[in-house]
């Protein structure tokens, strides 16, 4: 049995089981530590203002980053998250097919699928059409229209790889040069794992480094297995921010701002 079969057939169930256990463990800690206390008198603000604050709570750190941390914004927020991992993970056509297989309602997002590349490819889920030009390639017809030139798996993956590599190197430099406590071993594990997933996914999609089926299966096997490792580690590492920390933190912050009337 090869790595691909192992990742697909043997590791899927244990991955979900460990993930579920981890989530229950982490969330139960929050529940057990919840303490109900008296509340201060809330400042009066309108319902509309509270909705604005709720939305703003999710956005103001990003706006602050644009103003004062441009490098972090471009590499960490934009390349790595908003224009890299998030659209690839949830909207890349291959991933939509995967999500839909395990969770059929997900297929509702099919019209928003992002193709592998802007040029035609048998790997895309949308039908290619031939433009009325003398170019040799057809173009993929997606709901994204001309945006497909940038909203495609190749571009997004390269940007995400760039963002992840930058963050990795930045952390190495900070750890070595400034000896910062805040740069943790877990940061390197998470970023290296993400990088391996991105690179192996890119190589598998393009049948690289060679066009043989065994190489393809090996790359795809690495990609899936590392993704499963990420899911296993998710509840126990910084990846937890993606499923819980970010949402809890921002909702709590909005609640706190409501209280203070900000």
């Amino acid at each position: 049995m090869g790595l691909y079969e192992f990742a697909i057939y043997d590791m899927f169930t244990p991955t979900i089981a460990i993930f579920a256990f981890g989530m229950v463990y982490r969330l139960s800690r929050y529940l057990f530590l919840y303490k109900r206390t008296a509340q201060p008198v809330w400042r009066r603000t309108s319902f509309v203002h509270r909705i604005y604050i709720l939305i703003d709570a999710f956005l103001h750190a990003i706006v602050a980053a644009i103003k004062r941390s441009k490098v972090t914004f471009v590499t960490g927020i934009f390349l790595l998250h908003l224009f890299g991992v998030i659209p690839i993970l949830f909207l890349l056509s291959h991933h939509i097919a995967w999500w839909s297989y395990y969770f059929p309602p997900y297929s509702i997002l099919r019209p928003f699928a992002i193709p592998t590349s802007s040029t035609s490819s048998t790997l895309t889920v949308t039908a290619p059409f031939t433009p009325v030009t003398d170019m040799s390639n057809g173009f993929v017809n997606t709901i994204w229209g001309p945006l497909t030139i940038i909203l495609n798996g190749d571009v997004l993956a390269i940007l995400a790889i760039f963002g992840t590599t930058f963050k990795l190197l930045e952390r190495i430099v900070k750890k070595v040069k400034e000896r910062l406590d805040r740069i943790r071993v877990g940061d390197f594990v998470a970023l290296v794992l993400l990088l391996v997933i991105l690179i192996s996914g890119y190589l598998a999609t393009h049948h690289l480094p060679s066009n043989e089926i065994e190489t393809y299966k090996l790359m795809l096997g690495i990609h899936i297995l590392m993704a499963e490792l990420l899911v296993i580690l998710l509840p126990f590492t910084k990846f937890f921010h993606f499923v819980f920390g970010f949402w809890y933190g921002k909702l709590h912050e909005a609640y706190d701002l409501w209280r203070r009337g900000l």
Binding site: K35, A38, P40, S69, G249, L262
Partner: protein, 445 residues
């Protein structure tokens, strides 16, 4: 003094789910870094790095990986004197201004974790001697601990009496407004107490005030990291207000006491006080909007409002002072680097200004008592002094950017730090409290 591990046990025993989130959800993105007033002191003092010191302790105590793998996963206790020095340096380079909280993409309040560090340090005898001394004053039966302090307080009350031409309604029962001046104001801005009294008298308020302050800058426990003393001081204040039957507790100091009493006391005491807590800017804005006072608009040099972090970001008082100050001048401009929720802190709050050499001298002159620093403080204070100067310079530079002549604000600590910075860096502006600023501009209708 107790052992480090015991101190850690005590501090982590009252962990709640929100603090758990602060401890566990940081991804070390560093977005808080440019906003902290102490980042200028070096990368060690970035908010996320200071909070990491508490996370080391938390992981060692409360996570399975931390217990098994220890330092490999960033889990360790401070073991040596050097470790404690480092931890103390971090804990006292945070003004708890909440800017890190506001700019964190995960809503993590690193300052709260720094308070936890202070709590551990206090339990192992590592709270700065000046703050401990002031905390002791606050916990004594009377904060007017000696002749010097009593004289200063008496002179403030005398001046207030003269300015209104009658006796002060001290400890009067059944007043609508109970003015709560603190001893820190008597130390840093005594004229603010007199001005507030004049305004209360001028507007014909049914008011009272305690015959002596109910605390130095209560609760000092939150500044040094002593939860029990916080409760004790809150209880004293609550029982005074219950005794006089006040409906509204009014403060002129918009620093720690206002935010703590307005928003944190219910959590600490687990009960909601039966009175409202208001800052003098809220009080005056209310009178202004109801048409009970008018504010004379004058041509003046450039005037700006500095949002004290505890008053604005910590308590939501943002619009009221602007209404008042804008009504008073034709030449108002907001500070350029952010206002309200995004105001840059003065750099000297949460006790930091007082533990510098000048701060210590100021307290010693005020009380005419010598405060002997602990041995470890001798090493820690000189670099802190330098970092404090760098931190306040950022505010000073921001004010200079708009060429403001008058910086109006609502917190005695901010006034002290801004004026100190203006002198230190030879700038031509002055910080002044809003009640002083408005005193001769208010007309009662």
């Amino acid at each position: 003094m107790i052992a480090v591990e015991k101190a850690i046990d005590v501090v982590l025993s009252d962990l709640d789910s929100v603090t758990l989130h602060f401890l566990e959800s940081c991804v070390s993105c560093g977005l808080c870094v440019p906003f902290c007033p102490y980042t200028v002191a070096g990368p060690t003092y970035e908010p996320v790095n200071k909070a990491e010191a508490m996370r080391h302790i938390y992981r060692r105590k409360m996570t399975i990986a931390g217990r098994i793998l220890g330092p490999l996963v960033g889990a360790k206790y401070p073991r040596s004197e050097e470790d404690l020095d480092r931890m103390t340096n971090m804990a006292y380079r945070c003004v708890n201004c909440r800017y890190c909280y506001q700019t964190c993409p995960f809503g993590i309040y690193s300052g709260k974790l720094v308070i936890m560090l202070r709590r551990i340090l206090d339990k192992v005898g590592r709270a700065p001697s000046v703050l401990k001394y002031l905390q002791t004053i606050e916990l004594s039966d009377s904060v007017l601990i000696n002749e010097s302090v009593r004289e200063r307080w008496a002179s403030i009350l005398d001046e207030a009496r003269k300015s209104i031409g009658k006796d002060l309604p001290l400890d009067k029962k059944g007043a609508d407004v109970v003015y709560l001046p603190w001893l820190v104001e008597a130390l840093l801005t005594p004229e603010v107490i007199v001005s507030t009294i004049k305004i209360l008298d001028m507007v014909g308020e049914n008011w009272t005030m305690p015959s002596e302050p109910l605390g130095f800058e209560p609760p000092m426990g939150v500044i040094v990291g002593d939860r029990d003393s916080e409760r004790k001081v809150f209880r004293r204040i609550n029982s005074y207000l219950a005794k006089v039957g006040g409906k509204r507790a009014l403060m002129s100091h918009g620093g720690t006491p206002y935010m703590e009493m307005r928003f944190e006391m219910p959590f600490v005491m687990n009960e909601r006080p039966p009175y409202d807590v208001i800052h003098v800017t809220e009080y005056l804005a209310e009178l202004y909007e109801k048409g009970k006072i008018r504010i004379r608009k004058e041509e003046s040099g450039k005037v700006t409002w500095h949002d004290p972090c505890k008053l604005a970001r910590g308590s939501g008082v943002v619009e009221q002072p602007r209404i008042l100050v804008k009504a008073s001048t034709t030449n108002y401009e907001d500070l350029p680097h952010g206002t309200g929720m995004y105001s840059h802190c003065c750099g000297g709050g949460s006790g930091i200004a007082l533990i510098t050499c000048d701060g210590r001298k100021l307290v010693e002159e005020f009380t005419r008592e010598k405060i002997k620093p602990a041995e470890w403080e001798e090493k820690i204070c000189p670099p802190l002094e330098e970092d404090y100067k760098k931190a306040i310079k950022q505010k000073i530079d921001e004010i200079s950017e708009i060429n403001a002549n008058i910086v109006v604000t609502g917190c005695s600590t901010c006034i002290y730090n801004i004026n100190k910075g203006a002198t230190l860096y030879d700038r031509d502006f002055q910080a002044i409290h809003i009640v002083q600023y408005l005193l001769d501009k208010i007309e009662v209708t």
